[in-house]
């Protein structure tokens, strides 16, 4: 399946190669570089590139291209999903997945890649299993290893490999038993010029950090499970139980994992009905105009909270790609700071917290290229924000129970709402 893997950095150097079958010359990447040159933006490189003898499937993460070389038919998503899993594993092991981190830990990277694929077919991708085979590098362990001569490589088959719960290792012990769950919702929306919602949907995840001794069996129930329109589970969740009772029942992996992703949509059966199920937490008043023949344009932007269930809107960041004709801007924010990059034409305004009494605004003028005609397009405004202690959809966890172990764990649940792809057209 996957023949070889090349890691390419943003300046186009191949800094790591790994082959699982016969060696494929790195010159095969020339086709990739060609495609890269043709693409205007880094993310526009096609994920699948056919070459005379191979196919290149690549993903871009953390400004590194992971280019897999394929020789015959294979589902492209299979490869893409695997490459993302590789990146996630690196991140899990080294904290970050950067060129420097990979180079520093090249041996561990190689050992990991060796375990993750056999003959190009995934062998062990479960983080718990990998960590038993190859222990993540820590400073303490490095020191101990140099003194005692022990290694980072496990000698026994990981217990998970053979069990029916491959995601959990046996013999886990903690002095403090804790289980934390973060309900994080992201709202994706497109708001049109007049302020009405074109589309809005909520993408939520429940991320867990479970540190429990032994083999606990957990159940998590919601106050309002019908809210969840579409869900995808970590393999540990028992699907039948969810189907029948809408209860999440699972033996958790050890450590951090994503238990559930879900989707709350406003457009179930009436594609043309305006989105009313999803409350939009902020509104934007804007007035961006260019006049024909004048070298000045007006820019006015005001933000305000709307349907936030009494919680404050924080960490607000507004960014907008202004038309190419704009030379510079002269704006005054009532709060926060703004920057404008005259080369990329990117305006960004770090607002901070929205005070409902005194709404933040950004006003002023833009100077245009003299003599150039008025730009046709109006910029889109992208907004990021956070609302703590609230899930926008109103999803609430009812209770968390543990079976199978005697001790009493410490439990915690946190809610947060963030802006996902939140765009306002002007």
């Amino acid at each position: 399946m996957i023949h070889s893997l090349f890691l390419v950095n943003s300046s186009g150097d191949i800094f790591l190669e790994k082959h699982w079958k016969s060696v494929v010359s790195r010159s095969v990447c020339d086709y990739f570089f060609e495609a890269q040159e043709r693409a205007s933006e880094p993310e526009n490189v096609p994920p699948v590139i056919p070459t005379p003898h191979h196919y290149l499937i690549s993903v871009l993460r953390h400004r590194i291209y992971f280019v897999a070389v394929i020789q015959s038919e294979v589902p492209p998503l299979f490869v893409i999903e695997f490459l993302h899993r590789v990146v996630d594993t690196f991140q899990d092991y080294f904290g970050v997945c950067t060129e420097a981190a990979i180079k520093d830990n090249v041996v561990v990277v190689y050992e990991l890649l060796e375990e993750m694929l056999d003959n190009g077919f995934p062998l062990a991708t479960e983080s718990n299993i990998l960590k038993e085979l190859i222990k993540p590098p820590t400073i303490l362990r490095t020191v101990v290893n140099t003194i005692t001569g022990s290694t980072n490589v496990g000698e026994q088959l990981p217990t998970g490999q053979l069990s029916v719960v491959p995601w959990r290792r046996t013999g886990v012990k903690y002095t403090n038993n804790e289980a934390y769950f973060d309900v994080v919702e992201e709202i994706d929306a497109i708001i049109d010029k007049s302020g009405s919602t074109i589309t809005a949907e909520i993408q939520g995840v429940i991320d867990a950090c479970v540190k429990l001794t032994g083999m606990p069996d957990l159940t998590l129930s919601f106050m309002n499970p019908r809210l969840l329109d579409d869900v995808s589970f970590h393999p540990c969740v028992r699907f039948k139980r969810w189907e029948a009772e809408r209860i999440l029942s699972f033996i958790p992996p050890d450590g951090n994992f994503r238990l559930l992703s879900y989707h709350v949509s406003s457009q179930n059966l009436h594609p043309l009905r305006s989105a009313s199920l999803v409350a939009i937490p902020v509104y934007v008043k804007h007035n961006i105009t260019f006049r024909e023949g004048s070298s000045q344009g007006r820019f006015e932007l005001t933000l305000g909270p709307k349907q936030t269930m009494g919680k404050g809107v924080e960490a607000v960041l507004v960014s907008s790609q202004l038309p190419r004709g704009v030379l510079n801007t002269n704006l005054n924010p009532t709060q926060g700071t703004y920057t404008f990059d005259p080369v990329t034409k990117l305006l960004s305004w770090d607002v901070g917290k929205i005070n409902p009494q005194k709404l933040p605004s950004l006003k002023g003028s833009m100077s245009l290229q003299a003599g150039a005609s008025k730009p046709d397009e109006n910029p889109t405004i992208n907004i990021q924000f956070k609302i703590q202690q609230s899930a926008l959809s109103g999803l609430k966890v009812n209770r968390l129970d543990m079976y199978g172990e005697k001790y009493k764990p410490f439990k915690g649940i946190k809610y947060m709402t963030k802006a996902g792809k939140f765009q306002v057209r002007t």
Partner: protein, 1001 residues
């Protein structure tokens, strides 16, 4: 280069051994000298006794490999650490081996015995990794060993090892496709395996080796369906894709007599209607239902590939009414990484053509954000266009209007195309779209205008007579539009449809004639075009204008325009000299041009299995398995029936063992848990049964194989090393220096070889030179043909005499015949190009070989117990010939004398992997004892064990002195069993082949 040198610096910083860093940086001095230096240093570290130094060295070597630097010259130094006790060193050595074994086949062979020992290790992880590495070193010569190891591992008690065996199957297949039949047997066996761990891997092997053997699936179909949910995610993808294909061959089309809304299909239905009526009403096969039911929960998988696999299964297999469930899951995937989005959108685009209704509720999920990458935008646009219908078109068009204002021009162009397609598909909005597009003609961006004009042109070509208004409108636009491309396009349109606007066209030409000199070149060309067309249709009004335009063009600065004017004048203006062409001028200019077709590039892409690479590229990729059409009549469904008494028996066990009760983790429903449950417990039973004989055998092995005792290993290693050195010293006395290196390497790397050297020193098996086969029967081979040798022909044979100057060499008798007319002088050997370890003892130079004479000489070759050819040059006084001698495996040994008791004892010690047994049917002529002995001894240089009850033969390999024991036991009707015991697996397996051939042909 700069990045990699920086990388070295970092490496240097992190390495905690106080070794000086040698300059890898090309700037720090000559690359080559420092390279040598560094490698010497690494070699030293690898040779040291300290594991930490070895580890450090291996880490640096692996870092070199990772950067794509060549580290192959370290092979000998690395490979001898293959048996290192430190597991991390060992693993890194494996990494190295797998990378370079292909390039250094001979040296790689030396590591094989370690893996063979690993295959018998009590630790399943070690057994599995030994098999993994053994099957990953792509050395053709060990194919038989791999085959054996795979066969053995396929019935290992550990499912993990069985999984590894399944992984090894495609590796062996790609190395030697001739093993297919044997491998299919193993696949068949593993397909019957009932553990989830193995299922995915073996189906993968099935897909790579024998995807056409769909019959192997029948018996396992229900089991695979039931296990599916518990299989690891990657296996799920492969199994689902395979089952899709399977279902297409075994079940009936669930949609065959459902009336559909699709117009196309309705038409088809009409023609087929009569046939359908007679058909029985459709009832879905329960197995078909089982597959659909068991895959559905996987739509909730977190793995996008699994979701896509289920989606394509439903698309290709489910009844129309049920396909809808996949839409939601696919829409969910669009939140994922942009690469996932890209692939999913491609598939949604194809699906949305066939099943538009499915995605309609999710229309808004395909709305485009300004931050999407262009390739995603274009795909979303494609989906939106496919989804457009009478009810939603106004919303979609409103969206499109926003997109047109984007500053991503490629995207705007795609949007205009999309509007064009909506307009052709939905008649109601054609005029609105046209008007919108006409407005776009005044856009400042040339690309937008050009694209709009092209689309308008296409739309108008469909029904020009209804749109003379638009043509008139466009004619008016010529006053305002400045973009040359647009002006040119409008002129072309007016020219093309001048009959629909008979009054305006000449007027436009008049205006254009006025501004002709100020126009751009492309516009000028179109003015000439327009003039020509008008002259042909309406010469009364435009004759003078045309002449005027042509005259202007005649003196234009651009030669293209001058040429065109001259050409057109000749063509259209009738003169005395004008040829036959002018008669056809009208046909030439005003031929009916076919309207361009506006259809989705994704139309009919669903003949490729969705989700596949071939579908994405819209071209068949290598190894793609065509998705077959539904059969007309369903094949016999009973082939999938499996006898079930096995698990009814098990159910009592199940109750006893409470622990088992929670085993099937996902499948909670009673109906499904049955088979899964039984699968596990049955397997348990099997492995228990198996484990007993295994324990027995491993005990006997450990007696023989001292190394597997880990506790005493350290002290033993030391003693081993000491004795190794002794041997080295002894050898050193009578060997040449070069040979010494070979032996040293050999002795240190290859433990069993060393053990056999002990045999040599021990008096036990005394070698008695015997010549059983008279030299007259020896087979001769050609070394140099008379023609290539320019009259000199050379033949050789293996004389089977001991080579007296060196007992470790095989004697080769070489016979020169000079059939030329002149004499050949000074025949000798030169420039031997030998694999490492091999040696040649040349024959004394033949000074003169007169014409017509024949002379024989003997030379010795140490083949190092491998069948690699010895290459050297044969020189005469005038010419040099490249020749090579490749020994049959039977010549690599010499006979030894042994009593029957000794034979039995030695045979008892060479069991397990060292023993190869084959059943055969003797050929008619060689059923007698004498014939068998004759044939075996001809095939291999062995001697018969005297007074043996069976036909037993003994020998030892020439170089290392490993014992080779062969016995042939005959049974009734010419059936026989051949057993070969040899420490050297390679030799053993090859010998079996040769003897088999000798006995059966």
């Amino acid at each position: 280069m700069s990045a990699s040198s920086a990388f070295n610096d970092e490496k240097g910083g992190s390495s905690n051994v106080g070794e000086p860093e040698y300059g890898h940086d090309p700037a720090s001095g000559g690359i080559f000298s420092s390279d040598y230096k560094r490698h010497d240093d690494l070699k030293e570290m690898l040779d040291s006794n300290k594991d930490s130094l070895k580890l450090e060295a291996m880490k640096r070597i692996v870092a070199m490999i990772a950067r794509g630097k060549n580290a192959s010259d370290l092979f000998p130094a690395v490979v001898k650490n293959v048996a290192c006790k430190n597991i991390e060193v060992k693993k890194l050595v494996y990494v190295y081996l797998v990378r370079y074994a292909e390039e250094q086949q001979d040296l790689a062979l030396l590591s094989i015995s370690t893996f063979q020992r690993g295959l018998k290790d009590p630790n399943q992880l070690i057994r599995a990794s030994a098999l993994r590495v053994l099957s990953s070193i792509r050395v053709t010569i060990i194919v038989p060993i791999m085959m054996l190891a795979i066969k053995e591992a396929a019935s290992d008690m550990s499912p993990y090892v069985r999984k590894t065996a399944a992984h090894a199957i495609p590796k062996l297949y790609s190395l030697d496709p001739e093993q297919k039949d044997c491998l299919i047997e193993v696949i068949e066996k593993l397909l019957a395996d009932k553990t989830t761990l193995v299922a995915g891997s073996v189906v993968m092997a099935f897909e790579e080796v024998c995807p056409e053997r769909i019959d192997l699936i029948h018996k396992n179909y229900r089991k695979l369906c039931n296990l599916l949910i518990d299989v690891e995610e990657w296996g799920q993808v492969v199994i689902i894709n395979m089952l899709t294909r399977y279902a297409r061959t075994q079940f009936l089309n669930p949609n065959m007599n459902v009336s559909t809304a699709d117009k196309e299909e309705k038409e088809k239905k009409k023609t087929e209607a009569t046939a359908i009526v007679r058909r029985k009403p459709y009832v879905m096969d329960p197995d078909h239902r089982l597959l659909l039911r068991n895959t559905k929960p996987l739509l909730q998988s977190r793995n996008a590939a699994v979701v896509m696999a289920v989606a394509q299964l439903y698309f290709h297999l489910a009844p129309k009414a049920e396909v809808g469930v996949i839409a939601k899951a696919l829409v969910r995937l669009m939140r994922s990484h942009s690469e996932v989005q890209y692939v999913v959108l491609q598939n949604v685009a194809t699906m949305s053509i066939k099943r538009r209704g499915m995605f309609e509720p999710y229309l808004k999920s395909f709305y485009i954000r300004s931050t999407d990458p262009t390739q995603i935008k274009v795909l979303k646009l494609e989906v939106l266009t496919n989804l457009a219908n009478e009810t939603n078109i106004s919303t979609i068009l409103r969206e499109f209007q926003t997109y047109i204002k984007s500053n991503d021009k490629d995207f705007v162009a795609a949007t205009i195309q999309a509007i064009g397609r909506c307009a052709t598909n939905i008649g109601e909005v054609r005029d609105t779209c046209l008007n919108g597009l006409v407005q776009l003609l005044s856009n400042r961006d040339e690309l937008v205008v050009a694209e709009s004009v092209v689309v308008i042109k296409k739309l108008l070509q469909m029904q020009p007579e209804q749109h003379s208004d638009i043509i008139k409108h466009m004619a008016k636009l010529t006053d305002n539009i400045q973009v040359p491309m647009a002006r040119a396009s409008i002129l072309w349109l007016i020219g093309e449809y001048c009959e629909h606007v008979p009054k305006i066209a000449p007027d436009v030409l008049r205006k254009m004639a006025k501004t002709f000199t100020n126009e751009e070149d492309i516009v000028k060309l179109q003015i000439i075009n327009l003039a020509a067309k008008l002259y042909l249709t309406n010469s009364k009004q435009t004759k003078l204008l045309t002449q005027y335009v042509l005259n202007l063009a005649k003196y234009d600065q651009n030669y293209d325009i001058r040429d065109r004017a001259r050409f057109i004048r000749q063509l259209i203006v009738p003169t005395d000299k004008s040829g036959a062409l002018s008669k056809y001028a009208k046909k030439l200019f005003l031929a009916l041009k076919p309207a361009p077709v506006l259809e989705s590039p994704f139309k009919d892409r669903d003949h490729f299995q969705l989700g596949s690479l071939s579908h994405l590229l819209n071209a068949k990729a290598g190894g793609y398995q065509v998705l077959p059409d539904w059969p007309e009549a369903a094949p016999d469904p009973s082939v999938r029936n499996v006898e079930v008494p096995e698990w009814t028996k098990c159910s009592s066990r199940e109750k006893r063992k409470e622990k088992k009760a929670d085993k099937p983790f996902y499948s909670d429903s009673e109906g499904e848990s049955g088979p899964t449950e039984s699968a596990d417990s049955e397997d348990e039973k099997k492995s228990e049964k198996k484990s007993k004989p295994r324990i027995g055998s491993s005990e006997s092995e450990s007696e023989e194989d001292n190394d597997s005792e880990s506790e005493s290993s350290e002290s033993e290693e030391e003693s081993e090393e000491e004795s190794e050195e002794e041997i080295k010293k002894k050898k050193k006395r009578d060997k040449t220096h070069t040979f010494y290196i070979g032996v040293q390497m050999f002795a240190t790397i290859c433990k069993p070889a060393w053990l056999n050297m002990q045999f040599l020193l021990n008096p036990l098996p005394v070698s008695v030179p015997q010549t059983i086969v008279p030299s007259g029967n020896l087979k001769t081979y050609e070394l140099l043909h008379r023609i290539t040798g320019e009259g000199l022909s050379v033949e050789y044979c293996f004389s089977r005499q001991p080579f007296s100057p060196d007992p470790h060499m095989v004697a080769v008798k070489i016979q020169f015949t000079n059939s030329a007319t002149s004499e050949a002088k000074s025949l000798h050997v030169e420039d031997a190009k030998l694999q490492s370890g091999m040696r040649i003892k040349e024959f004394p130079e033949i000074e003169v070989l007169p014409a017509g004479e024949t002379v024989s000489v003997v030379m010795g070759i140490d083949f190092c117990d491998s069948t690699q050819a010895a290459n050297f040059q044969l020189c005469t006084h005038t010419r040099k010939f490249f020749v090579s001698i490749q020994p049959p495996v039977g010549e690599l040994m010499m006979p030894i004398f042994m009593t029957e008791n000794e034979f039995k004892k030695e045979q008892g010690q060479l069991m397990g992997m060292n023993e190869i047994t084959e059943k055969l049917t003797l050929e008619e002529k060689c059923q007698g004892e004498h014939a068998i002995v004759q044939r075996v001894t001809t095939a291999a240089n062995l001697s018969r064990v005297p007074c043996g009850s069976d036909k037993e033969f003994a020998g030892k390999t020439v170089t290392s002195g490993s014992l080779v024991l062969v016995s042939v036991v005959t049974k009734e009707n010419g059936a026989a069993q051949l057993t070969v015991n040899c420490e050297k697996m390679v030799i053993g397996t090859m010998l079996v082949k040769d003897i088999l051939q000798a006995l059966t042909q």
